[in-house]
Structures are given as C-alpha cells and as structure tokens.
C-alpha cells in the first residue's frame, strides 16, 4: 500500500517536473540573476565578477532618491489611471452593445479588436503624424472646424504630451478589455435577465443587480491585466516622444533602458527592474485581496 502511494506521489512529481524546470530556468533563475546584478556596479561589457563589482544595496539607496525614476512611475500611474477608467469603460460599453443581438455584430467585434493586433511602432508613428504640430491631421481638423485656438504641438507641449500618449495607449488597448468583457457577459444565463424583466426591472436595474455582481471576477481580471500592461507601456512612448519633452513622458521601462544602454549602468538598471517588478507584484497582490473582499461582500 505504502509502495503504491509512494509511486503515485513520485508520478505526480514527475508530471509537474517539466513545468517546474521551465519555470525555474526561464523565471526563477533570471530573477535571481537580475537581483544579483542589482547589487553590483557593472557596465554590462566587462566580464562579470561578483566579488569585484559588489556594492551592496547602494543602487537601491540611489534609486529611492532618484526623482526622475519616481516621476516616471507617477507618469505610468497616470496612464494606468486613464486606462483603468476610460479605456475599460469604453470596452465595457462596446461589449454590452455587442452582447445584444444586433445586425453585423461579428463585424463590430472584428473592428474593435483590430487596434490591439496592430504593431505598436506603426500605431505610434501614425499617431505621431496625426498629432504633428505643423502638418498633423488633428490640427488640420481643428482649424477646419474653426477651433484654431486649440491648435498646439501636441507631443512637444508638456501639458498635453502625456495625455496624448495615454489616449493612444487606450485606443490601442481597449480591444483586449472588450473581448474579455464580451466573453464574461456571454456566460451570464439569459434566464436571469428574463426573470428580471418579468419582475419589471429596468435596464439599469438589470445591469446593476444582475450583470455587475456576476461580472466582478471579469472586472478584476481586466483591471489586473490593464494595470500590468499599462505600467509596462514602452514602445508607444519610444516611437512617439522618446520620453520627452524633458522627462514629461518618461515611464519606468524607458528609464531602465536609459540606464542600461544610454548610461551603461547595468547594475542600476537591474535594481530599477527589481523595484519595478516588486511594485507591480504589490499592486497585483492588493488587487487580488480586494477582489476576494468584493466577492465575499
């Protein structure tokens, strides 16, 4: 009996071994290496020698005092806030519209899902052209509509640059939320709505009392994905503003790249990576805790 049990346990471990190995090689080991490098002053060129380059937590101490880094975190937070609210609200509204039996529903689904599958570099360059201060379409439309007082250099103006990038990020990303929301909406049994209708519930009441409670897990999933995806926004920024003007559109990943490639401070870049990863982990943890609380409530 004991032998059989031991064999079963061994079999179980054997089955999970490939997954554990892959996870260890591609996640655990790289994270360990990044953390090790974050404790060193290394330029990424010379042969790495831990003993010679070890500086303890000096990179982290410097990072805590790095105003540009924290500014970049705040800016990524601002884009995330816009994505969490406007992007997801738009995605939900469109999902609700497509959940009904409307004519050409499938065509709308394809159209709404187009932006996410486009290349970020292409999207960035096209929108950069639209926003161009001299020859951009946006300024042309504004002038044509008699709103020339609003004409500006959208991406070079510190007051508008970050919001412009955030809008494009939302435009590019709402399709993901739309698809997930739509899938969630389609799992809600139709009988619940029919029963609510029989009871005389209005559209808003049905949304509030039927759709919303059943969609809580989906809202949580979408919000976690939005936060994780948006905080790591990078390619759009690189192709549209390169972090400028000044530091106004810098985000954590552009700062990490600058430290690694621009300044050859590999160790510092790794400490930024560790700090950023820890921040995202903390945010996800809070979101999961919050979701459990909401489910119970």
């Amino acid at each position: 009996m004991n032998n059989m049990r031991a064999k079963a346990v061994l079999q179980n471990y054997l089955f999970i071994l490939p997954a554990v190995l892959i996870f260890s090689i591609f996640y655990i080991y790289p994270f360990y290496k990044v953390f090790t490098l974050s404790l060193c002053q290394w330029d990424g060129i010379a042969q790495f020698d831990f003993a010679k380059t070890f500086i303890g937590f000096r990179n982290f101490i410097e990072l805590f005092q790095d105003k540009i880094w924290w500014g970049a975190m705040m800016q990524a937070g601002y884009i995330t806030l816009i994505a969490l609210t406007f992007q997801n609200a738009l995605a939900l509204m469109l999902a609700l519209a497509c959940d009904r039996d409307i004519k050409g529903g499938n065509i709308y689904r394809v159209i709404f899902y187009l932006p996410p599958v486009l290349s970020e570099v292409v999207v960035g360059l096209v929108w950069k052209w639209i926003y161009d201060g001299n020859y951009g379409l946006l300024n042309y439309w504004l002038t044509s509509a008699g709103l020339s007082s609003l004409v500006t250099d959208w991406l070079s103006n510190p007051k508008t640059a970050l919001t412009c990038v955030a809008i494009i990020h939302c435009w590019k990303g709402f399709g993901w939320g739309f698809i997930i929301f739509l899938a969630g909406l389609q799992t809600i049994p139709r009988q619940l709505y029919e029963a609510a209708k029989v009871d005389g519930a209005s559209g808003w009441q049905m949304f509030k009392n039927v759709t919303m409670p059943l969609m809580v897990p989906v809202f949580i999933l979408v919000s976690i994905l939005t936060v994780l995806g948006t905080m790591q926004v990078f390619v759009l920024i690189l192709s549209m503003t390169n972090g400028g003007p000044g530091y106004h559109t810098e985000v954590p990943v552009t700062r990490i790249l600058e430290s690694m490639v621009g300044s050859s401070r590999f160790g510092y870049a790794c400490s930024q990576g560790v700090m950023f990863g820890a921040a995202l982990l903390a945010i996800s943890f809070v979101q999961i805790k919050l979701s459990k609380y909401m489910k119970q409530a």
Partner: protein, 427 residues
Amino acid sequence: MSSSFIVFLSVFLVSCGQEAREKPLVKSIKVWHWMSDREDAFLELAKRYETEKGIKVDLELYAPSDAYTQKVRAAAQTNTLPDIFGVLGVKRDFASFVKSNYVYDLTEEMNRDNGAWKNKLFAKALAVNEFEQDNSFGVKPGIYGAPIDVTNIQMLYNKDLLEAVGVNKPPKTWKDLIEVTRKLRAKGMQGLVSGWGETWMIDCFASNYAFNIMGKDKILDTIRGKVSYADPDWVKVFDLFREMRDEGALASGIVTMVNKTAEQIFANNRAAFAFNGSWCVNVYKGMNPNLNYGAMLPPEVSDKYPMAIWGGAGSSFMVNKQSKDIQASVDFLKWLTDAPQQVFLSKETQGLPSNKYSLKDMPMALSQFANAMDNATHPNVWGVSESPIVIEAFDKGIQSIIIGEKTPEQLAREVQAVKEREMAKNQ
C-alpha cells in the same frame, strides 16, 4: 619492403593532413555591422574580396544600432563575438571592451612599413579609435579600430528659402542667423530643424557653441570638475536655446523630433536650416534629388575661440582579440580602407571616405563637409569623459528651456548640482 612502404605512406598522409589543417584552401571571416544603408555596398565589396583573395566574408547586419549594441554586448559576455565588429557608444564603453580583451590592438599593424596603413587614413578618424598615453580610462595606449568612413555634423541651409526672404549668403554670425530666422518667420517659414528628440544632437549643438564661447580648455576643466556648469559662459550657451525659442527660430515640435523626421522636413523645403551630419547628403538625395542646399559651420556667437563641430570616424571596425583568424581580419580591414574600396564606398553611399586619397568626384555639399574637417572634434578624443547622468541632465534640461519650463540660470544650477552629486559618488 611492404612495411617501409606503409610507414612512408602513413607519414605522407599525416603530413598532408597537417598541411591541410594549417592552410585551408578557403577561409572565411565573419563581420557584424549595423549600417543598413550600406548593406548592398558591403555585400558587393565582400564578393570582390572573395574573388581577389579567395576568402569569404560573411556579413551579418543587425539594425537598428540600439539592437546592434545589445547584440555585441551579449556576444562579448558569451565569447561569441565575430572576427570583426563595431563598438557603438561613448569612449568609456569602448575602453571597457578593450580592457576586457575583446579588441585586438592594431597599433603594430598600423605602423608596419613606416606606417603605410596609418598614413593613408585621416588622423581625426583614427583619433577616435586611439587611446593616448596616460588616458583617463586606464587603457594601454594604442589604436584599436580602423575607421571606414568620416563624418561631421554641421548646419545646412536651403538656398531657395533664403533667397525667398532676400538672403543670398548663409549667415556667418549668430546675430545674422537670428535676423534671417525673423525674416523667415515673418513669411511663415520655419527656421532650424534637427532631431533634438534624440538628445545627443542637442548635446552636439550645445558643445559646438561651448567651444566657440569658452574654448576647449574650459570645457575640459568643467568635465574634470574644476569649472562649474553655473559659470556665466555655460549660462551663455544655455541662453542661446532660450533666444532661439523666443525668436521662434526653431521648427515646431523639435524637442520630440527624431532626426529622420527632421531630414524629411528639410528635404521637403519646409525649414530653411538643418543641423545634421554628413550622412544627410545621401539621405537628402534619396528624399529630394532637387533640393538646393549647402553646408556651413554653425554661425559664430563669439570671435574669441574658433567654432568647433563634432566629427571624426563615422563608423569603425574592430578585430576580435579572441578571433582564430586575426591576421585575415586585419588584412580585410586593410583592404577595405584601401583607396579603390573607399572610392567605391564613398560613391555608393555619398559619404566621406576615411582614406585621404579617395576624395574624388564628391557632390558640392559633401565637399563642404570635407572642408570643415579642420574644425572637427569629438568627445571621444578629449581624453576625459563626462558622466552620462550629467549629460542627460544637460540635454534634457535644454529641452526644458526650449519648452519654456526652465531658465538658463536655473538649468546651469541644476546641472552643476547633478555634477557635484556624481563627483561625490565617485570619490
């Protein structure tokens, strides 16, 4: 009889085998480069080299340059660098490659036969690849790279647009430049365009004027920490950007503009001046073959010190010190920098050759770039280098002046504060 024949045959076959191993009939060398605009020309040269010398040159292109930089660094860590490669970046990074034994010292090869190889190359192009005695990087003095072309960065002017505002000659002084841009503005035309979203170009422009206002020694003393960035001369440099902003002399959106966009604007007659490198001759030719333009030194602010422009080796190749075919790699670089190949490269890419004896049949603008080589300097030949963190604060700060967020005085104080912090860190 038969046993001695077998012994003879064995010795003969073994000797043949050794001979074959030592001198393979066809060797090949591997070259990694990042110059997508020169790929076709390089492929043609590789073909010619194989025909002439019987050695195959495997060219591998990794572009853009950021990706190439990463590729080379990663290969260095895993000891998989090719026979010939380029080091992109500042001199400090180059020094790190040399100190880590990734780069072969070419000094002996350069000096062989009374310096035959060295003497045919432009000294300023070589200087970028050279480490002098007692250099601050701690590298053994020597020449560690072979330049394959020469570039410098100047100002370009659109002759048609200047004529449209009644200006027949390009401005010689800063005052003239501002005056011309006023006229252009009055006619709804843009003044100076450049890729100042790529901050190194701002650094280059500011550095030119720093040379003109305070001279090389004071700049180097600033880098050494003996002169403050809050010094009035530095404030004067920063103030030029404030003045250009206030006078509307800069093209719209310049602070986030990449150089490719700036090149399109200038090539399409949408700005009268550009700040760009000699590679632009090829770019403008592709964008607008009828563009009527010339190259000039940036107009002087002061007559106290000469105007300097960034220039020297545009692209250089290094030989991998761990390569199994060092001599074959060196021979290929010698061949590549020979006059016939340099003339071919120059014609195909509209660039300046690194070989002194290859300056033939150049377009007007390119010869204007060539003539300005006497004014060329480069941070890589100064012997000291500024901290990248200070450079970033300096360049991004100038962007802040252009967008009206900071005053020159404020920026000067901020850059000095960063400099002091960096110096304290290194002590």
